[in-house]
């Protein structure tokens, strides 16, 4: 074993959220607001597979926002899931070393969203539609988790598990 921590201590370690006895160092290196610091991938000509994971979750945040506007009674149920998905988007952008969206762009998007809520041209978002999107994000993160780097695998696996949990909450 690579760690000196006694097995009797494991229950305490588990229950205090430290996790695997050998994982404490890595975990502490990967925690912090707003999300984990993940080493970026080696530059490559192929698109980074994490980009697709990011794009899906950004679209999902927009879908939650739209659902909240269309069905305000669902907002209390959807808001925690929407906010956690946004946290994941922030962490993914960090992992991909992408700049944060500018406040101007955010403001324009918000303005467009408000306009579009006044003129409802978007198709209605249903819980089943949200579930379908969430399940898709779980599947794609799980697929990336199998082949990504050892540095990224815990992060991407966590994203897959989170989506499965969100799916449960939308049932």
């Amino acid at each position: 074993m690579g760690t000196p921590l006694s097995r009797r201590r494991v229950l305490v370690a588990l229950a205090t959220g430290v996790g695997a006895v050998g994982g404490a160092g890595l975990l502490s290196a990967c925690t912090g607001s707003p999300g984990p610091v993940i080493p970026t991938a080696t530059p490559s000509t192929a698109p980074d597979p994490l980009l697709a994971v990011l794009t899906e979750r950004e679209a999902l945040v927009a879908q939650y926002d739209l659902a909240g506007r269309q069905q305000p009674d669902l907002a209390p149920r959807l808001l925690p899931l929407r906010d956690q998905t946004e946290e994941q988007v922030v962490a993914l952008r960090l992992a991909l070393a992408l700049p944060e969206p500018s406040s101007e762009a955010t403001s324009e998007a918000t303005s467009r969203a408000r306009t579009s809520s006044a003129v409802p041209v978007e198709p209605p978002v249903t819980l089943e539609g949200l579930r379908s999107s969430v399940r898709a994000t779980a599947a794609s993160a799980a697929a990336v988790c199998e082949t990504t780097t050892v540095e990224r695998a815990p992060f991407v696996g966590s994203l897959a598990a989170a989506a499965s949990c969100h799916d449960l909450m939308l049932r």
């Binding site: 074993m1 009797r8 494991v10 229950l11 205090t16 695997a20 949990c165």
Partner: protein, 141 residues
């Protein structure tokens, strides 16, 4: 750390979780006992599967301890459910850690299934405990 070491840590975690569920069952409310039994059985199955996997890698699975320290007193149904939440969070963390210790796709699938099932069980216990939100952004972290 090798993937065998990481799996041994995950196995140690499963031993501890099974022991912990014994405490949870002793203090849990009557209506929660079926869920406690199901959750404990899931970890017994995972423990056995992990031990088999280690043997297939020519490693001797570590044994359970006779006693584990509790992180906080468990004296009533509420603290029992709190312990269940913490146990599942810990198991999720252990399996999340395994993901970063191997490049083997099959082992990663195994670890991801375990991480996900513990994360889902933690959600169920948080719902029982009335903890909101019941989900977290990064299970196992």
């Amino acid at each position: 750390m090798t993937e065998v070491d990481a799996l041994q840590d995950a196995l140690a975690g499963e031993h501890a979780v099974i022991w912990g569920y014994g405490v949870v069952g002793a203090e849990a409310a009557e209506q929660h006992l079926p869920a406690v039994r199901v959750a404990e059985q899931a970890h017994r199955t995972r423990r056995d599967d992990t031990a088999d996997l280690l043997r297939s890698m020519s490693a001797e699975p570590i044994e359970a301890e006779a006693y584990y320290e509790l992180p906080f007193p468990v004296t009533d149904p509420a603290s029992a459910v709190s312990l269940a939440v913490h146990l599942e969070q810990g198991a999720a963390a252990a399996w999340r850690f395994v993901l970063g210790q191997t490049e083997d796709a099959e082992l990663r699938r195994t670890a991801l299934v375990a991480l996900t099932e513990s994360a889902l069980q933690a959600v169920q216990w948080r719902l029982q405990a009335g903890i909101a939100p019941a989900t977290v952004a990064f299970p196992g972290q």
